[in-house]
Symmetry: C2
Subunit: 262 residues, 2 copies
């Protein structure tokens, strides 16, 4: 056995033990982090179809077997019931608890969906010397419901949610190049410029996260956001589901750099 412990595995062990119960930004740099949606098997086929139809907001990294908490494609010895720092448990669309462990509510029919997260492409942006305003400002990324409809699959559907990062034009062009390399973690932006064209009435009032400063000469650039599947799932009000708490992601063993398609 190797003595090396992957930083992703280490982060999961800390989440499992309760030592890591906060947001995972900057935890295990270089490792892919993932959004979580856990649904009863009865809804799993429709949700998988929804992800397949909407790969930009819902880039599916891995899906579990029903009842099985392992996700071998994403990392060593993952137990999805314990390895996320904080969960949200929902019953009939109501948030009922935010535990650090969901073993007590686990069921044999639960299917886990792990979906790519913008942390991966933001790391690539920073590596390219591009500014990421909400990181500079130490706040959450601003996110907005748009008038762009997702493709409906069974009960799942609703508006696309986007995240926004302001950039100067030349940086926006470079950001499009950089993020296009990462289709499995949201990929290229879906819009830039006039927010009104995608149904955003006031850029200073995000629907989720925090407003950030847009400076002179900067253009708002909008990416499909992993909050979309969460907003779609909770809108359906399933009798039971589990998501991660915002910003509290699954840290995997996968390398962000290996997500690049070229």
């Amino acid at each position: 056995m190797t003595q090396d412990v992957d930083p992703g595995y280490l982060a999961r062990l800390e989440a499992r033990s309760g030592k890591l119960a906060g947001p995972t930004a900057n935890v295990a740099p270089g490792r892919v982090q993932a959004n979580l949606a856990i649904l009863p098997r009865a809804l799993a086929a429709d949700f998988l179809h929804f992800c397949q139809l909407n790969p930009k907001p819902c880039p599916l990294l891995s899906m579990s077997e029903p009842g099985n908490p392992a996700l071998p494609a994403l990392g060593r010895d993952i137990d999805i019931r314990t390895d996320i720092p904080r969960y949200r448990v929902w019953r009939n669309g109501e948030l009922v608890s935010e535990p650090t462990d969901v073993r007590d509510v686990w069921r044999d029919d639960l299917v886990s969906f792990l979906i790519g997260c913008s942390f991966s492409f933001e790391e690539a942006m920073l590596d390219n010397g591009l500014p990421v305003r909400h990181i500079e400002q130490g706040c959450n990324v601003p996110m907005y419901r748009t008038n762009i409809a997702t493709q409906q699959a069974g009960v799942f559907g609703g508006p696309l949610v986007v995240s926004m990062r302001p950039l100067k034009a030349a940086d926006a062009i470079r950001a499009i190049q950089v993020t296009s390399r990462f289709p499995s973690v949201h990929g290229a932006p879906v819009h830039l410029g006039d927010p009104g064209l995608i149904g955003i009435a006031d850029i200073a009032k995000p629907d989720y996260g925090d407003a950030v400063q847009i400076r002179d000469g900067e253009i708002p650039v909008f990416w499909a956001c992993g909050v979309t599947p969460q907003s779609v799932v909770t809108a359906v009000k399933p009798e039971f589901c589990i998501t991660h708490a915002p910003g509290h992601m699954l840290v995997t063993d996968l390398l962000n750099s290996r997500m690049a398609v070229f």
Copy 2:
């Protein structure tokens, strides 16, 4: 010997015979076309350095030996003195003639520079279903002098000239992806959005070419333009130089599709 004649070679033979004396848009589809600057050897090293420092406006496809009219890297049996449909001959910065053949003014010290042209990436845009407004409107692309300085090399320097194509945001994002694949034919845009940020006072009044319509919801997108080297060369007022007449390019044997870097 093969019986196949490359469409690029055929176009050059027609230019050589005088049969083709007009613009080369839509001539030999799929073949790379090139901008021309012919300079005395005394200026060639500086101009080569200028191209090296400014690869976006001046993507050098090939440079000849002094006095040698052949360009074997660009196609079969090229004679740069006859194979362009129409030339411009300049003396001390003054345009003195627009002949279809420059054999009578040829000199043993002349060096030819062939520079990539936007026709290549426009073909890729059209292949991707992206609109190219000046083609739709049947006019020349609008071009603008900017306040972006090129990198000076010896006597050569001056403002970057850009071409503009209006696109909806999602199409602009796709156009950035598509044209990024073609760094040897200007590559990705250099700017998008507010023209004033790069010193363009009135988008309706291009410095070269024709104004085109910008429709509701469209953003002007700006690419580095092959008119830059021409404007730089003529500004220096060399005792002698030759360029192509606007739109009258060298048609090569190279395939546009082979210019893609991935």
